[in-house]
Structure formats: structure tokens, C-alpha cells
């Protein structure tokens, strides 16, 4: 079995590397090494990891088309689930650290702070994608509809980057870097769809 067909190995590798930052954060929490403001650090790190995994998810198609790395396709849902996992951790950190578990204050916070509204909306859009990430759900929805639904990822990554940009005080380096990467990944899809011959059903894309 060569590398390209060793699906089990790919899965284990991505599982391990995706979980590693969370494990290191837990280790740092345990030895009191999350810095002077642990809530801020965990909030920022889980937020950035959410964006990282969204980017990785959207990288799969171009890497397949350009470099023929077709084995990545089987791992894409796992990458997406990691985006959801870190997004959820980000949300919980906000509820615990910023809201002191006062769930009812979240509504007024969404109203008061537009960047919270954008972040919350982006997270909520990830929920149906996480729920439909099983094989059974793909069968139930059918590949075409499933693919259409999961194009929500495009909206989610834009929301995530805007959310990040809105909270930064003045140093926009990282939000802008994510914005450029997202623009390239989304732009690739626009260009690819324009090159596609008309009247051909979109079946095997993504």
C-alpha cells in the first residue's frame, strides 16, 4: 500500500495534528502557562484555529485539481469537523470567560457588538454542516444537495475573517492575511466555475 491510498494513516495523522493544539493548551492550562490573561489567549487561539481549519477545508479542492492530491478528499470532512470543534471551543470560552456563564446576556451582547453578531452567525452556519457530516447524511441528502449545502463554508469563512478584522484594535496583519488566503481560495472557485463548459451538470466537483 502506497502513501496515497493509505486512508487509515491519513486519518490518524490529521486526527493527531488537529487535536495537538488543544492538548497543548490543556497542558499549558494545567501548568499555569497560558500567560497573564488565559481567557484572552484561549479565545484568540481557538478562533484562529477555527479559521485555519476552514482554510484547510477549502484547500482540498485546489490541491486535488492542481497537484492531484486526491487522497485529501476523504479527509475533508474531518478537517471541517475540526473547524467546528475549535469554533465550539471558541464559543464556550466566550460564554465562560466574557459572559461569566450569564447566557441571557448573550442576546444583548449580540445586539450591542456587531462583531459578536457576525461571529455567532458564522458559528451557527457551521452547525448544519457538522450535523450532516456523516456518511448516512450524505446518502440521505444525495451527493449533489450535500455539496450545495456545504458551500455554506464559503459564507462561513468570510464571516469568520470579518469577525476577526472587526475586533482587532489597529494591527490588521493577521486578519488581512486570512482575508487574502480566503480571497484566493474563493477566487479559484469562481474562475474554475467560469471555465467549466456550460450545460454540464455539476456532479463530481468539490
Amino acid at each position: 500500500m502506497d502513501f496515497n491510498s493509505d486512508t487509515r494513516f491519513h486519518r490518524q495523522l490529521i486526527l493527531f495534528n488537529g487535536l495537538l493544539p488543544a492538548l497543548l493548551m490543556l497542558l499549558d492550562a494545567w501548568r499555569g502557562r497560558l500567560g497573564a490573561n488565559p481567557v484572552e489567549f484561549v479565545t484568540r487561539t481557538t478562533g484562529v484555529l477555527t479559521l485555519v481549519f476552514l482554510v484547510l477545508t477549502l484547500l482540498v479542492t485546489p490541491l486535488r485539481k492542481i497537484f492531484g492530491l486526491n487522497w485529501l478528499l476523504k479527509q475533508r470532512r474531518l478537517l471541517g469537523l475540526y473547524a467546528f470543534f475549535y469554533g465550539f471551543a471558541h464559543l464556550i470560552t466566550y460564554i465562560a470567560g466574557d459572559r461569566d456563564w450569564q447566557i441571557l446576556t448573550i442576546a444583548s451582547d449580540i445586539y450591542k457588538r456587531p462583531f459578536i453578531a457576525v461571529g455567532m452567525a458564522s458559528f451557527l452556519l457551521m452547525v448544519p454542516l457538522a450535523v450532516t457530516s456523516t456518511n448516512a447524511m450524505i446518502k440521505k441528502l444525495g451527493g449533489k444537495r450535500w455539496n450545495q449545502l456545504h458551500r455554506l463554508t464559503y459564507v462561513i469563512i468570510i464571516g469568520g475573517v470579518v469577525h476577526y478584522y472587526m475586533i482587532v484594535k489597529s494591527d490588521i496583519t493577521y486578519p488581512v492575511a486570512f482575508a487574502i488566503v480566503a480571497a484566493v481560495l474563493l477566487g479559484y472557485r469562481i474562475v474554475a466555475s467560469m471555465k467549466k463548459p456550460p450545460n454540464r451538470a455539476v456532479v463530481a466537483s468539490k
Partner: protein, 321 residues
């Protein structure tokens, strides 16, 4: 497969060797990817404890100011105070500033005091050390919503200002931070215009709480906290307390201030700590005290209302935020 010649039996890699190689390759990929992931995480995670390498300063404990603190205002640890800094000239990552500012040259140093004064003068470090030093433990509230309690060492700014004799038409004081792109190469991405400038009204500058700090925890200031000398105005948001001061100018108009220039709708000239006036993007009614789990209420004028509220009598603090 087309007719490639069959390999002779001794050319075929024995199964054991083949499996060994695969195992080796896999292990290498495991280790390599794990190290890369962990390394990336480490690059962005806070660094360990910061040590106090300053030189001791003799100071008088101002008991009147120490007793102004509430029972639940415990000074933060040195490592918290010196390991979590907003000093955009060095880095916008608060836990990174201490390390990027390590080689910042703060000696020799001079502060030029000029403008509407009878006796303009340039002070060097030994001149500053001639002012009698006090230890003042102040609350410190950052506009971002976190706070600390900090044992500063320094002297009232009024003493320095009185020594240069402000003219009667002087109404404001402008301050400038040192700036040198060679010593502060990461300042390019700060997103604010530099050098950093700040200002106070003259009566604010002359207030007995307003300090020129030269030390922290009984020793000279660490670079990341604004060595060798910085302003401390405890009833205002932290960004008013300008670091590493090189110039003080007395003037007859409100001077420009860096964060106000960067975003006038979010940062006003006064920037007094005020729980009733929210920042456009977040609430200012509560704060996270560094080292504590939850959040606590933010106090009007950061708890110094008794001493400073009279400075703003009759002013609309919503408009003059």
C-alpha cells in the same frame, strides 16, 4: 502493465525490509508533522515567567496612597505586570513585548522639557533620580477591559513641571515617546502613527496622583513597561500613561494624541475610566483583573473619583469621553 523484465528474486526487496522502511517513513511523518504543529502552537503561545532584572531604587512608601486601595486590590505579580504589555512599537502581542524589547537601549536617556515654560531644560537620568522617589500602588485599567494593581516607584509629575516654571498661558501638556525604527523594527505593522504622543490638561498633569514612574516593585522599570521613565495617570485608561518619554511640551491648546488620531470615534482625549460610557465595540462596565477568574465591576475614574471628579465638574463625560 507492459512487458517490463521480471525482477530476479534477489532484486525484490524482502518483505521485512519493505515493512521496516514503511514503518520508518510513517514514523518520520508522524514526528515531523507533530513537531511542526507543536512548534507553530508554541510560536504563538505565551512565554514563561519574566524575571525582574532591574536595579533597586530607594523609595518612600506613600501610605496614604496604599490605603486608598480596596481590600481585594492585591498587587499583581511582577511576571504578570512585566509579561503582559501593550507597547506597539515592539509588538502588538502583549506576551511578546518583553522579549522584543529586551535590547532596547534606555541609558543614556534625556527628557526635553520645553514650550511655554520659563526655564526649558533637558533632564538626564541622574537629574530624574534627584527627585525624591515614592512607592505608589495604583489600580491600572486598560481600555481593552483588563486591569492590574501595580506598585510603581516614581515622583509626582508636578514636581518636575514646577521646576521648569510653566507660563500662565500654558493650559496643556504634550508627551512624546522615543521612536527609532532600528530599535523597533516590528513597529511597521502596529497600525498607529509613531512616535506615540499623548497629552493632559495642565490641571490633570499637576494632580498629585499623576506620576512620572521610574520603577516597579522597588527596581528600575523593565523595558517593556516603559523604561526608563513613563507617565502614570491611574484614573485614565492605560494608553494615556505614555511610556519611555523623551519630550514634554507645555502648550496653550489640546495636543494630538495617538489613539485619538487612529480612531477618533473610539478613543477620546480625556479617556477617563468610566463604566457608564462604553467603547463602541465592547462594554466598559466590567473588567477582568489579571490573575482572577471572573470579571469585576469597573469603578468610576477607576476608583479615584474622590480625588479627581472635581477636575471634570460640569463637563458632559459622554461627549468628552
Amino acid at each position: 502493465m507492459p512487458s517490463s523484465p521480471r525482477p530476479s528474486p534477489d532484486e525484490i526487496t524482502p518483505e521485512e525490509t519493505f515493512n521496516d522502511r514503511r514503518l520508518f517513513m510513517k514514523s518520520a511523518i508522524w514526528a515531523g508533522s507533530g513537531l511542526a504543529t507543536a512548534g507553530l502552537y508554541r510560536k504563538f503561545s505565551p512565554r514563561p515567567e519574566v524575571k525582574n532584572n532591574g536595579t533597586a531604587i530607594t523609595s518612600i512608601t506613600d501610605s496614604a496612597y496604599a490605603s486608598a486601595l480596596a481590600a481585594n486590590d492585591k498587587p499583581n505579580t511582577f511576571s504578570e505586570i512585566a509579561g503582559y504589555n501593550n507597547y506597539y512599537e515592539f509588538s502588538t502581542d502583549k506576551s511578546e513585548v518583553a522579549f522584543r524589547a529586551k535590547n532596547f537601549v534606555t541609558n543614556p536617556w534625556t527628557i526635553e522639557v520645553e514650550g511655554l515654560v520659563q526655564k526649558p531644560r533637558t533632564f538626564d537620568l541622574s537629574d530624574l533620580m534627584k527627585f525624591e522617589s515614592f512607592e505608589r500602588i495604583y489600580r491600572f485599567r486598560c481600555v481593552e477591559g483588563w486591569s492590574m494593581v501595580i506598585p510603581w516607584v516614581g515622583f509626582p509629575l508636578s514636581k518636575l513641571l514646577n521646576s521648569v516654571e510653566p507660563m500662565s498661558k500654558a493650559t496643556h501638556v504634550a508627551f512624546t515617546t522615543y521612536f527609532d525604527i532600528k530599535q523597533m523594527p516590528d513597529s511597521d505593522s502596529a497600525g498607529i502613527s509613531l512616535p506615540y504622543v499623548e497629552g493632559l490638561r495642565l490641571d490633570e498633569a499637576m494632580h498629585p496622583l499623576t506620576l512620572l514612574a521610574t520603577g516597579l516593585y522597588g527596581k528600575t522599570l523593565p523595558n517593556q513597561n516603559g523604561a526608563p521613565v513613563r507617565l502614570v495617570v491611574p484614573w485614565k485608561y492605560g494608553f494615556k500613561s505614555i511610556k519611555s518619554v523623551v519630550k514634554i511640551t507645555l502648550t496653550d491648546r489640546e495636543p494630538p494624541t495617538t489613539w485619538n488620531l487612529a480612531n477618533p470615534g473610539e478613543y477620546g482625549f480625556y479617556s477617563n475610566v468610566n463604566p457608564t460610557v462604553d467603547h463602541p465595540r465592547w462594554s466598559q462596565s466590567r473588567e477582568r483583573r489579571i490573575g482572577e477568574g471572573g470579571t469585576r465591576e469597573t469603578l468610576m475614574f477607576n476608583g479615584y473619583a474622590d480625588q479627581v471628579a472635581s477636575l471634570y465638574a460640569g463637563m458632559d463625560l459622554r461627549k468628552n469621553f
